[in-house]
Amino acid sequence: MTAALEDLWLTYQSTVAFVGLNGLLALSVYATLSCGQLSLAQAGFMALGGYTAAILTFHSGLPFALVLLAATLVPSLAAVPLGFPVLRLKGVFLAIATIGFGEVVRIVFVNLEFTNGALGYTGVPQRTRVWMIYAALAGALFLLWRLRRSRAGYALEAIREDEPAARTMGIHANAYKLSMVVLGAALAGLAGALEAHFTFMVAPSTYSFARVVDMLVYAVVGGAGAFHGPVLGAAFLTLLPEVLREVGSRVGLQPGPLRLFVNGLVLLLVILFLPNGIVSLPQRLRERREARRPGAARAG
């Protein structure tokens, strides 16, 4: 019996880990979205975290906890000089500038001989346990949950709704926006370090633009209006391909193309019918039920 359970765990351990890692990454995108900023530098921060952790593991005898701490701090510090000039930009321009940052980081690592260029590090010892990923995720969720109803949380909401009005209420909008970029960078860095020590490797190709798009899609599908939405989105979109593989193999379909097709379809359906994401589903259903009730009363 226990052997069967162990088998099951071994089969699905990696899926469970990625649900948590992708949840952390979705929260890192949510951090900047929560004050109305679309920053796509997350893959760059994740790369800084992953490489910092791998380098420290290989070249220093630091315990894993300190490695993780360093991998959280390095991208956070990098976010400050990036944030100062970049937060003067808005909307599309901010998105493009932050994509630029991510690409610069990736290309630097491609060309850096010290980190084996495009190959990156392989054979990073597996020191990440699944519980660590979930502890980090729980910590991040707690932080964002508490933030919501705090004075700072009110300020962030005000900035998202109407930045000039928020500023004339005495809210230092740039300081708040910068703090959230730093928080997002910290979460991405931590996720990068945990992933590197789970998958045995860091390579520049892991931190491509497509990765940021994935994170953003998690947040949008789950719902970026609530702090737990992005985590739901990440879980849903990480588990979906696993389910589809099962279904697909029975019907005799190739898993690869089917997955991309379904991901696109899910994104489209959510944007069209659930613009506030999966988190808004219960409320949406309640509203529909209430809309139907008075009609029924009139009929009777």
Binding site: A165, A166, H172
Partner: protein
């Protein structure tokens, strides 16, 4: 003088929206700012609140220059405002809008809130209680938990006033606070404005409702094409030939 504008100027391209305008607002005074459409009244409020920078002249609060400061610093020095085209945080409840307005008055270190200390919870409840008090003052306590975007036009204007008062400003800038209100609502706003002034706070009131301006203001400045054409007590300004010409289109 509490608030002082000294030959303030702001040009948009070739248009001088505010042209060497000077005015003084004393402590506890309700100061009216009137003028025909496009006279530069809202631009002037934007210059005082820091959303725009003057291209010339100086704005002083208590003798200190504030015209180069960002809006949040000016708010911290005691100047808050409402907007002609209402700018509430639509997704937040009326009460939460007022809580945001109290941002500068809240002593709530984040770490205390994060550690879930009882003192942080007490501060939060206090902030909400203060917000409800202010909503009562503008007659909206029954609508406290309604989303701001679902409120009527007149109600939204009153929430904006409550939000601006929440920071306990020394100078309150009101940009057409009674636009779209019925006479009963206008009367209650007039009483509210007088109450604010009686508490020692100054009000700079941009308004089209002549009755309200005449009744509520201690002093009136009239703008036309960005220039000050008259300044004085309401009765005197109402008789001023330049003012009558500006409003009725006198020939020259």
């Amino acid at each position: 003088m509490l608030l002082e504008l000294d030959e303030v100027e702001r040009a948009f391209g070739g248009v001088r929206a505010v042209d060497e305008a000077s005015l003084q607002v004393a402590r506890g005074e309700v100061h009216g700012l009137i003028g025909p459409n496009g006279a530069g009244k809202t631009t002037l409020l934007n210059l005082v609140s820091g959303l725009l920078r003057p291209s010339g002249g100086a704005v002083r609060l208590d003798g200190r220059r504030i015209d180069r400061l960002p809006p949040h610093r000016i708010a911290a020095l005691g100047v808050t405002r409402t907007y002609q085209n209402i700018r509430l945080f639509g997704g937040l409840s009326a009460a939460d809008n007022v809580v945001v307005g109290a941002h500068l008055r809240r002593d709530a270190p984040l770490w205390r809130w994060m550690l879930m200390l009882p003192s942080a919870g007490a501060e939060q409840r206090q902030a909400r209680a203060r917000a409800l008090d202010l909503l009562r003052r503008v007659g909206l306590e029954a609508r406290a938990d309604e989303k701001a975007q679902n409120l009527s036009y007149g109600e939204q204007r009153r929430v904006e006033i409550a939000r601006a008062l929440a920071s306990e400003p020394r100078v309150l800038l009101l940009d057409e606070p009674t636009a779209g209100m019925n006479p009963a609502e206008v009367a209650s706003i007039a009483a509210l404005i007088r109450g604010v002034a009686a508490a020692g706070q100054s009000v700079l009131l941009v308004e089209h409702n002549v009755k309200l301006v005449m009744a509520a203001c201690d002093r009136i400045t009239v703008l036309n094409f960005g220039r000050v054409i008259a300044d004085g007590p309401p009765a005197q300004v109402a008789r001023d030939p330049a003012v009558i010409a500006a409003y009725l289109g006198g020939e020259r």
